[in-house]
């Protein structure tokens, strides 16, 4: 096992031991004292402050009571109807209830009020805290959080077709901001405050929720502020009637609200949450929390009771109750700031959950790492993983995909981190989409200095800018380099390609031949040059379409792996700075030992393929065979002595020595006795528009069974762009292939091809499947066209 893997395993083990040791200890902790001022209820029963009868809080309380009966705990609750959040805080302070549901803004304000100490108000003086709570009421009381359970969003409902950009434009027209004493009304007051208004500045009707909905339905209200869960049925009904619509909370209000009252968080009422809502509406959300209290140093609830309550809440979370908003038990990240401390029992549960969560993450990571190691081993064994020797830093630097991928990675990572940091508090990064856009702006240097609020997010933004601009510069440089070289190596084609090794200046003519008009096949050319190649020649090569230059040592097999030689149509080894024999060995090694396909085959047969599989190459055109590891047909420019010395004999199954000097001597000798020969030969081998060249084309089934004489007659009398002159047949393997792989088992490609080529065959020769006609034609397309026409 590798060192990182060992460390990961050790860490996981420590975490598991810690969790198993710590959890029972946490559960065994007893309360410091018995709950104070217990009402005459069965022992262990918690007095639970909910809300008005039939209201949302009461329903939640009832659901919790049922849930506690379902889970295996001894704790029970007695749900008490109250006046809502404000009343619940007061009852908690007075010890009339042990736990209660409270809107978090009210809870946070109450906590703040209690923190200022016992400052009794003078007679007739008003309290400015929410619910008009006074520090005297809360003296000696420390509110404690059991859990946050659900969210409510501020809904700005306006009469259609009114749209409000500023609450001050409401004027004296009637509005509804909440039921007196409710948390919703307290929230509305804060929102109006963020807009620079007090309750006295607006014409808020003192009516109940139900009456307000009816008034809005009748068109008697201009605006309503309701703080309730997203998807509320009553609001949905109102919006469905078309009398009202949802208005976005003005961004200035949101920002001031979060700055002054960080107990809220920015959220969005998503599109399609309500009938006819086609777009997201920015707003603020506030959570409903279960609170308890510590009065005069005595906890109202023991740790065990709190944990039982949490167990009940979790049961509701996993078993949603019809008509009740979905419950999600949380202790953190439900508000911009969370000043109310956790009850020790809740704290224990939170830490245990935290540990379990990260233990799971580490275990998953360790498992993933282990699987990756196994996968890597498996792929290496199968030979499917790239050769580490084939990669190099220079190659990565010159590939523009690398900085592009890096840029994407930076933007995505910064998007996620910044969204996590600020989506609750920054109206400009409410959604991941917003965050992605902002991070794009940062990474491209087009950012707005006010777009991020927290220091951490700003550091990330700065890092994204520096990294993004650097990566963009890298991307531009790499792309410029490619374009200036005129070599789109990004899109190089490595199948049925032509590889020229040991290229020298004299062979520019070869490249011209390969790029001449005529053949239908325009294969990609990959040329390996040495560093001694003159720059002007290199420049000429860069202008050739579909040609890629590599400056490598062709005698080093590892350098050839990138060229995917087994998939090449032809490999040409030229005389030059490196010795053709050593290059031939390198080609063999690259195909038989280093190619991924070869390694796969070697692993299957538990032995290295010393005797390689050889190509059954296409005579002409592309060969669509699979990626089996084979050695391609390789033509080597040989000297006269090479053939005589048997230099290439070990490679005779796949290598064709071309004795260029000997053939040049033959040319001179023939031209000596026949002055016409030179002109004729040039005509045959040059691809020009004004002459005919030789091609082979497979004969269709309709020609099978006919004689060579009949075919001659058909073609000699055919008129294409010019004429067709058939001179022979090539008896191919499966039509397209030059020979069968087994043909060269005890022979050579050249011998196999020579055996199958019949120039001037006997006139009675019968054509059969796989036969190709060898003929002079203006171009290959012309020959094919004539054959197709004649076959009908």
């Amino acid at each position: 096992m590798s060192r990182p893997a060992k460390l990961a395993a050790l860490l996981v083990a420590v975490l598991v031991v810690w969790i198993t040791w710590w959890t029972p200890v946490a559960r065994a902790q007893d309360p410091a004292a018995e709950p104070a001022e217990l009402a005459p209820l069965p022992a262990g029963t918690i007095r639970f402050g909910a809300g008005s009868k039939g209201g949302g809080f009461s329903q939640t309380g009832d659901a919790l009571a049922d849930a506690l009966a379902q889970v295996d705990v001894s704790t029970r609750i007695h749900v008490e109807n109250t006046g809502g959040s404000c009343d619940n805080v007061r009852k908690l302070a007075r010890g009339e209830v042990d736990a209660a549901l409270v809107q978090y803004d009210v809870a946070a304000e109450a906590f703040a009020a209690s923190a200022v100490g016992d400052h009794a108000l003078e007679d007739g003086a008003q309290s400015g805290w929410m619910c008009e709570l006074s520090s005297a009421e809360l003296a000696g009381v420390e509110l404690q959080l059991v859990a946050a359970i659900d969210d409510s969003a501020v809904h700005v409902i306006v009469r259609r077709p009114v749209r409000l950009d500023d609450f001050s434009s409401v004027g004296d027209r009637p509005i509804f901001v909440g039921q007196l004493g409710s948390g919703s009304m307290e929230t509305s007051k804060v929102i109006l405050g963020a807009a620079g208004l007090t309750l006295d500045d607006v014409n808020s009707l003192p009516i109940k929720n139900k009456a307000a909905m009816a008034a809005m339905q009748n068109g008697e209200l201009l605006m309503m502020l309701r703080t309730t869960e997203i998807g509320d049925d009553a609001i949905a009904g109102l919006l469905a009637s078309g009398m009202a619509g949802l208005n976005a909370l003005p961004s200035s209000v949101i920002e001031r609200l979060i700055d002054g009252f960080p107990y809220y968080r920015i959220c969005q009422i998503d599109a399609h949450s309500y009938p006819g809502l086609e777009f997201g509406v920015p707003s603020v959300c506030v959570s409903t929390v279960v609170l308890t209290a510590r009065r005069d140093g005595v906890d109202a609830l023991s740790d065990a009771q709190v944990q039982d309550l949490i167990a009940g809440l979790r049961w509701i979370e996993h078993n949603p109750v019809e008509g009740l908003p979905p419950v999600a038990v949380r202790w953190r990240d439900f508000a911009e700031r969370e000043p109310v401390p956790l009850h020790p029992g809740a704290g224990l549960t939170e830490r245990r959950d935290f540990a379990i969560y990260w233990a799971k993450v580490f275990a998953a990571l360790a498992l993933a790492a282990g699987l990756l190691v196994l996968l890597r081993r498996f792929l290496r064994r199968k030979g499917l993983l790239g050769n580490p020797l084939s990669g190099n830093l220079e190659g990565q630097l010159s590939n523009p995909l690398v900085p592009f991928a890096g840029f994407l990675l930076i933007v995505v990572a910064a998007t996620i981190v910044v969204w996590n940091l600020e989506h609750d508090s920054n109206a400009r990064v409410r959604t991941l989409n917003d965050s992605f856009w902002e991070m794009n702006m940062f990474a491209t240097g087009n950012f707005d200095s006010e777009s991020l609020k927290t220091s951490t997010a700003r550091v990330i933004g700065a890092a994204a800018t520096i990294a993004g601009l650097g990566l963009l510069a890298w991307f531009t440089a790499a792309l410029t380099s490619i374009l200036s070289r005129d070599q789109m190596r990004l899109f190089r084609r490595l199948r049925n390609h032509i590889v020229i090794l040991n290229f020298r200046e004299e062979m520019l003519q070869l490249v011209r031949v390969l790029r001449s008009p005529g053949p239908l096949r325009q294969r990609s050319i990959h040329v390996v040059v040495s560093d001694t190649l003159p720059p002007r020649v290199r420049q000429q090569l860069t202008k050739v379409r579909g040609l890629t230059i590599y400056q490598q040592n062709p005698e080093v097999p590892e350098d050839l792996v990138d060229l995917r030689l087994p998939r090449a149509a032809r490999v040409i080894v030229l005389q030059g700075g490196y010795h053709p024999l050593r290059i031939a060995r390198a080609v063999h090694h690259a195909c038989v030992r280093l190619d991924p396909g070869a390694r796969l085959e070697a692993s299957k047969h538990a032995a290295l393929g010393v005797s390689p599989s050889v190509h059954s190459p296409a005579l002409a055109g592309d060969d669509a065979r699979g990626a089996r590891a084979t050695v391609p047909v390789t033509l080597v420019e040989a000297t006269n002595g090479d053939a005589a010395d048997g230099l290439f004999d070990p490679f005779s199954r796949w290598l064709v020595p071309v004795p260029a000097r000997q053939l040049a001597d033959a040319w001179l000798a023939t031209a000596c006795v026949d002055p016409t020969f030179g002109e004729l030969f040039n005509d045959i081998v040059s691809f020009r528009d004004d002459n005919s060249e030789l091609y082979t084309v497979e004969l269709s089934e309709s020609f099978h069974g006919k004689t060579w004489r009949e075919l001659r007659k058909l073609l000699f009398t055919a008129q294409g762009r010019a004429g067709i002159v058939p001179i022979g047949l090539y008896r191919g393997h499966q039509g397209r292939l030059a020979y069968e792989a087994s043909d060269v088992q005890d022979s050579s490609p050249q011998a196999a091809i020579a055996r199958r080529l019949r120039v001037n065959p006997p006139l009675h020769t019968v054509l059969s499947a796989g036969d190709r006609v060898l003929a002079f034609a203006e171009d290959e397309a012309d020959l094919r066209k004539v054959l197709n026409r004649r076959s009908k």
Partner: protein, 252 residues
């Protein structure tokens, strides 16, 4: 062969193989510098090796070509790149000019020049050179054809190595009014009864009577009355082609 060196020994073998079929039985290899006259035989052909110790550009060189090797009477002359000089093609140009001066008003031999720089080919215009040969072009053509079509590559190798030959053939009188397609379909076999193929026509003759303006695949409707001879492709050994000779000997 002028400017011959032992590095071109392979050319002697190829020449010996080829020229016997046309009745030529002597090859003279001319080296630069000083060397004694030697004679030996290759495949039944007499090979003389001698040296000329004056430079191609000197006034004495044409005279030496006449006196030492009787250049005017030669059937063909191959001018090889001069070894050990910076500009071998320039030296070859001087040699060709010397041959021209040596021949005077005579038609002179069939001159072939091998060059090292393809761009130097135009420098031989007007010097009576019938073929300027650049080996790089041949290599490129061979390897290029192998990449395009292995069958065609094999045919070209066969053409160079003597397995296939292109000959000129007089147009039979009964076909003179006909077309290229008529000739191609009528002339199916050579005199030995083996299959042959008419591949083109020649539309003119050179000073020595050899076919020029050869067109391969002229089109089926080409009138033979406009042509001086046919070009046919035959396969097999030269010696077996009884009654027919390659090149201009077989022409009309």
């Amino acid at each position: 062969m002028l400017h011959w060196s032992p590095a071109s020994a392979g050319l002697i073998d190829e020449l010996a193989r080829t020229i016997t079929s046309v009745g030529v039985n002597r090859i003279t290899c001319v080296r630069d510098g000083n060397a004694p006259l030697t004679t030996h035989h290759v495949q039944g052909v007499e090979v003389r090796t001698l040296a000329i110790d004056v430079k191609p550009g000197s006034d004495a060189y044409p005279g030496r070509l006449v006196s030492d090797v009787d250049i005017v009477a030669a059937r063909s002359v191959i001018v090889l790149p001069r070894a050990g000089v910076d500009e071998p093609d320039s030296a070859s140009r001087l040699t060709c000019a010397a041959i021209r001066r040596a021949c005077g008003d005579e038609v002179g031999p069939n001159v072939l020049v091998e060059i090292e720089d393809p761009e130097a080919a135009f420098e031989f215009v007007g010097l009576g050179v019938s073929n300027v040969f650049y080996p790089g072009h041949l290599r490129a053509a061979l390897l290029g054809q192998a990449c395009v079509d292995l069958g065609v590559f094999q045919f070209i190798v066969g053409l160079l190595s003597g397995r296939h030959h292109v000959r000129s053939l007089a147009i039979p009188e009964d076909l003179r009014a006909g077309s290229f397609a008529d000739a191609a379909l009528t002339l199916e076999c050579d005199s030995a009864g083996r299959a042959m193929t008419v591949i083109g026509v020649a539309k003119g003759r050179g000073e020595g009577g050899q076919p020029i303006d050869v067109v391969v695949n002229p089109g089926p409707r080409t009138r033979l009355s406009e042509c001086v001879c046919l070009m046919v492709l035959v396969s097999g050994d030269e010696q077996d082609q009884a009654g027919e000779q390659p090149g201009m000997q077989v022409g009309a």
